[in-house]
Symmetry: C2
Subunit: 326 residues, 2 copies
DNA sequence: GTGAAAGCGCTAACAA
DNA sequence: TTGTTAGCGCTTTCAC
């Protein structure tokens, strides 16, 4: 303790907590700081948490951190948290081996709030009885018991993709759709269908697939091999799926984008690592994470949190072009 | 408190802490468990940590979580931690904006130990005075003050890559090297140079680059355009760099692998999303993370932690072939 | 087999 | 302007 070293008792608390102005003399304050510095003293967080009843820790529930997208969501949330003296702990990915753990078994009492992605559907049940402020990410703004929702504008993103493709002249589209039952993917499908519906002669066929390159390749190959006129554009729910779609095209001897156009979603590193570079929609995952943390902090301060919406941007690159003449 | 609800006082502690055998009667224990269940009672972690002086929390220091590799390291560490009632908190990526934070300013007193990657070099200084058990990942086994080191066998991986390429007949290699000053990359360079040295007529030129696709593309393009006989194989320190190398080759009108072979390192998702699929070495990042956590837990139990070594595997795929005849 | 009591390090209210 | 004190919820002796 700096108490023995310095001069006083809990004056230390005031000084180190920056609450001493007008209550502790400047010399004393300086002495305390010097002693703390010299002893390498750090306040004990457990004691502080116990006393305060708050832990300055938020739980982030994401389906799989190994995905670049959610790693970025974490990065954004952690940055905002750190700026506010908060920490972020992750709910162990359900992907992992071992028993699916109740996020609260080990953590509930040590949390101030929860930020959850809609994709981690199975974890939501456990959150119901939490009684903690909850901010949902990329989720249905309507139905949740959340204090706030922070969503990238996925519908707008899909609308932009569709607009881009339709104005290039594409009329036979395939939606290479993530077979994941979550609001964000339903929204994308809805938005795409709506955009296509407005254009005479345009159709969209849906080909569901698991969220993996190999599964997407198989799905896209299926879609491109169906009887009837070949689709000219593959609209994928994720850059990863788009990578699979490109592989499918090449395996069938088709060129991207000359014979078939392919679009992604997210703008991961992958999008520009591929050849041709993917036309895709950038969702700023960091902003989603940061927005979620902001909303949670607001809720924690007792103010009504503002549901936010993160704009998205279409990046037209080399994987899309006008459809072949035929 | 379950105290009021149940029947007794701190008997609760014994029962819930599984320390009651032979000290509390079976009926009482059952009653406590029932009450706890019914009230949804969870022990307060802050209080427990305060009392015990331990937090069951480890810090994982990684350069950038947005990279798939380190996300996997985290996943592995978190899995092992969870199995042992531990949590893992991440050191905010130095990449992020905002002031570079001392990991201990907010966390030191709340940590039991530290796991650090060598790539987070700048953070190491701050760790020196930690006084906490430290496990290093992918770092020089010799020089560190670490209790243990957990390393994937990168030298062996590079040896396998070199062997693969040399036996295909390649003699003019380029090492597209990550311009990051860390042990793991020095080790790769050393191992590659050594393997090539054993083969008469074989040479390796080093082309340093930042760890990004676009920078790697530029570096590879430079290497392939140098005067003199063109290199026939590009050995990259990372799959991401290999993606850049492939783009460089195509931009110069060269085919992969017919005109030039390309190899990666890590076997990220990217490796099989690209075309051709990358010949690469799989480093099990999860195992590195898990091994690191195991070593830390061992150290925390007072037993001497065992430095571990994680074997790597060469995956020969479509990005390598015999060099062109000329 | 169970309860009473102390104390982990901190903060906030109050006394001096 | 500073020190004293109580108590956050838990674990752990130690009496009973």
């Amino acid at each position: 303790m700096a108490r023995a070293a310095g001069v006083s008792q809990a004056t230390v608390s005031l000084v180190l907590g920056e609450k001493w102005h007008g209550r502790v003399s400047e010399p004393t304050a300086e002495a305390v700081r010097a002693a703390a510095e010299q002893l390498g003293y750090r306040p004990n967080l457990a004691a502080r948490s116990l006393r305060l009843g708050r832990t300055r820790t938020a739980l982030l529930v994401v389906p799989a951190l190994t995905s670049e997208f959610f790693a970025r969501v974490y990065a954004g949330a952690a940055r905002v948290a750190a700026d506010n003296g908060f920490g972020v702990v992750l709910y162990p990915s359900p992907e992992g081996v071992g028993p699916a753990q109740d996020p609260f078994t080990s953590a509930r009492a040590a949390l101030d709030g929860v930020i959850a992605s809609s994709m981690a559907a199975d974890a939501l049940a456990a959150l119901q009885d939490g009684g903690l402020p909850l901010v949902m990410l990329d989720s249905d703004p309507a139905d949740s018991a959340a204090a706030a929702t922070v969503n990238p504008e996925v519908a707008d993103g899909m609308r932009q993709i569709a607009g881009h493709l339709l104005s290039l002249g594409h009329r036979r589209l395939v939606h290479v759709a993530a077979a994941v039952d979550s609001w964000t993917f339903r929204e994308r499908a809805r938005s795409l269908a709506e955009a296509v519906r407005g254009v005479p002669g345009a159709v969209v066929h849906t080909e569901p697939t698991a969220l993996e390159v190999e599964a997407a390749r198989a799905a896209a190959e299926r879609a491109l091999s169906r009887p009837g006129p070949r689709p000219t554009a593959l609209v994928c729910d994720d850059d990863l799926l788009a990578a699979g779609a490109c592989k499918a095209a090449r395996r069938l001897g088709l060129r991207v984008p000359e014979d078939v156009s392919v679009t992604g979603f997210d703008d991961l590193t992958l999008a520009t690592a591929l050849e041709p570079e993917l036309t895709t929609v950038r969702l700023s995952a960091e902003q989603v994470g940061a927005g979620g943390m902001h909303a949670l902090l607001t809720a924690l301060e007792g103010r009504p949190p503002t549901s936010a919406t993160i704009p998205v941007t279409l990046f037209p690159r080399a994987s899309t072009a006008a459809p072949p003449p035929a």
